[in-house]
């Protein structure tokens, strides 16, 4: 897949001397959902800020669909919509006016039909004539998304889109992101809710202390670093694990009613087949089984803790 954003040797040192980004190289593929994960202060917002033109880079360069973000900022910026982390809105503007304003600011001819559709999609249509200051926090978040989408961008940056929003809005947001992706929009989201990245992203980048420590397909990452567990619910309680099964990493739990087998997802599956066969031979019957996989959260915590 061609890359739509290409970041090369990007570093940023603030005037205070704080080095927010250290030699970042990153390619975002057209049409993907890319999740940038990292703890607070890792440099996620700085990276987005530089791509969007809010922060000046110290060194390195960025191309958006082939356009340099400094020398050809007009072309690069008109492709991008940005939903920043902070809820910054013009308190005294109406929802309709602010969305229309954003469209004009990004150089697009007024298109009331598009704004109408957008506000309807975001459940803001009823509030179109309300002043933004009268809206709830969740509604304000929707307004910011409407502003970012008002000029039909091909790339959407969502900086912590679901920080502090309720479950319903979060689900709405996920739905919206998916439908945008289907229409061909590339989405880059930062989050520290890891389940969000797990749910949404095609690829994941982990940033910590200004360094991009990992970029990987989500499925690949889960497969590589994930651990799996097989839980067997036994028909009859076991007092201890029979010695015939000591070759396997087995644990008893739930007062001996459950047998848990932990294995590495990269190992071949023959291990499980053999286990089930050996169980059968040992006369251990089970009534149900399920497997669980370690979450992205576990992987992330390990990565950031170890600094890779």
């Amino acid at each position: 897949m061609p890359s739509i954003i290409s970041v090369t040797n990007l570093s940023k040192t603030y005037a205070s001397g704080f080095q927010a980004l250290k030699n970042i190289n990153l390619d975002i593929r057209e049409g993907e959902i890319f999740a940038l994960l990292g703890p607070n202060g890792a440099g996620k917002t700085t990276l987005i800020g530089i791509v969007c033109g809010i922060v000046n880079a110290s060194t390195g360069n960025i191309k958006v669909d082939g356009h340099d973000i400094v020398t050809d900022y007009r072309a690069s910026r008109s492709l991008i919509g940005l939903v920043p982390q902070e809820l910054t809105t013009d308190a005294f503007e109406t929802v309709w006016a602010t969305a229309s304003f954003s469209r004009g600011l990004f150089g697009k001819r007024a298109d009331p039909a598009h704004i109408e559709k957008l506000l309807k999609d975001l459940s803001l249509w009823d509030k179109r004539d309300n002043m933004i200051r009268t809206l709830s926090g969740g509604m304000k978040r929707r307004v910011m998304i409407a502003k970012a989408l008002s000029h039909e961008p091909r790339i959407l940056f969502l900086d912590e889109p679901t920080a502090g929003v309720d479950v319903e809005l979060r689900r709405d947001m996920w739905r919206l992101v998916r439908s945008l992706r289907e229409s061909g929009v590339t989405i880059i989201l930062t989050t520290h809710y890891i389940d969000e990245a797990e749910e949404m992203a095609d690829r994941i980048g982990v940033i910590s202390k200004g360094e991009l420590i990992l970029v990987e397909d989500k499925a690949e990452l889960m497969r590589k670093l994930g651990r799996k567990q097989l839980t067997l619910q036994l028909q009859e309680k076991l007092e201890s694990i029979p010695s015939a099964l000591s070759a396997y990493k087995l644990e008893l739990s739930d007062n001996g009613n459950e047998l848990i087998h932990t294995y590495d997802a990269r190992e071949d599956r023959i291990g499980i087949a053999a286990l089930l066969k050996d169980l059968d031979e040992a006369g251990i019957r089970f009534k149900d089984l399920h497997t669980t996989q370690s979450s992205l959260e576990d992987i992330f915590v390990t990565l950031v803790r170890d600094g890779k």
């Binding site: 809010i54 922060v55 007009r74 008109s78 809105t89 503007e93 990004f106 150089g107």
Partner: protein, 253 residues
């Protein structure tokens, strides 16, 4: 050229004026009317004619200048400072707009308000004192040039300011004294010779003088110099704005 952006910002700023009609238009009109009552009618009735014009009429150009200077600065500085304060500036910085377009729209809107305000005050004054305008074209030119120049200056203050206090400090401590001492309420020929010389270092003298000339055909300094000085302020302000956008001063980190 991103015409849609210029239009959007200009309309946004004009809508802000409409929302704050009280402080943008009505308040200056009221305060100017009070000046007329106090200086024109009450005190002015005891002052003989100044250079062939009744004192009430004589102060009209100076009063308009006083309002335009302060309003241009406060409108333009607030217009750009407030988005910085609330954080909505992110959108402007991330938009495909050039610095020229940003300045044109913000300064254009602030200057438009000032010109409208100047004309409203003029109309108000015409109701109170008999007025004549000898050089209407020049009158409008000075009005527009001054509005644009001081809106630019206000824009610079708005970018420089990192608190509400700084927003007020230059207009209050520098521009207001210069305006009052710049011959708004008197002809500098009324001053003792030494202070006449000092007054020539006050840039506002040239603005008021040129503007008054367009009304009554009389001036403290020649109209050519007035025009040239206004042009110089304009160019200096433009140069500072250009520098701000080239370096990202106080806008980008």
């Amino acid at each position: 050229m991103n015409i849609y952006a210029i239009r959007a910002i200009y309309a946004f700023e004009m809508a802000r004026t409409a929302r704050t009609l009280m402080q943008s238009i009505i308040a200056p009109v009221i305060s100017t009317s009070l000046y007329f009552v106090v200086f024109g009618a009450a005190i002015g009735s005891r002052i003989p004619q100044v250079e062939g014009t009744s004192y009430g009429a004589f102060i009209v150009p100076g009063l308009i200048m006083l309002s335009i200077l302060t309003q241009s600065m406060s409108n333009a500085s607030f217009g750009i400072y407030f988005p910085k304060f609330t954080g909505t500036i992110y959108e402007l910085l991330s938009a495909p707009v050039s610095s020229f377009e940003v300045v044109t729209s913000y300064v254009g809107a602030a200057a438009t308000k000032s010109v409208v305000l100047g004309l409203i005050i003029l109309a108000t004054a015409a109701l109170i004192v008999p007025l004549r305008i000898e050089h209407p074209f020049w009158m409008v030119l000075f009005l527009v040039l001054t509005s644009v120049t001081f809106s630019l200056f206000g824009f610079i203050i708005g970018i420089w300011a990192d608190g509400f206090e700084k927003l007020q400090v230059i207009p209050l401590l520098i521009i207001t004294p210069l305006t009052f001492l710049g011959g708004s309420f008197y002809s500098i020929s009324m001053l003792p010779p030494f202070w006449q010389t000092v007054a020539l270092f006050n840039p506002v003298v040239y603005l008021v003088s040129g503007f008054r000339w367009s009304f009554f055909g009389l001036a403290d300094v020649s109209v050519g110099i007035s025009l040239a000085m206004t042009g110089v302020f304009l160019v200096i302000s433009l140069a500072i704005v250009a520098w701000i956008f080239r370096t990202g001063y106080r806008l980008k980190t």
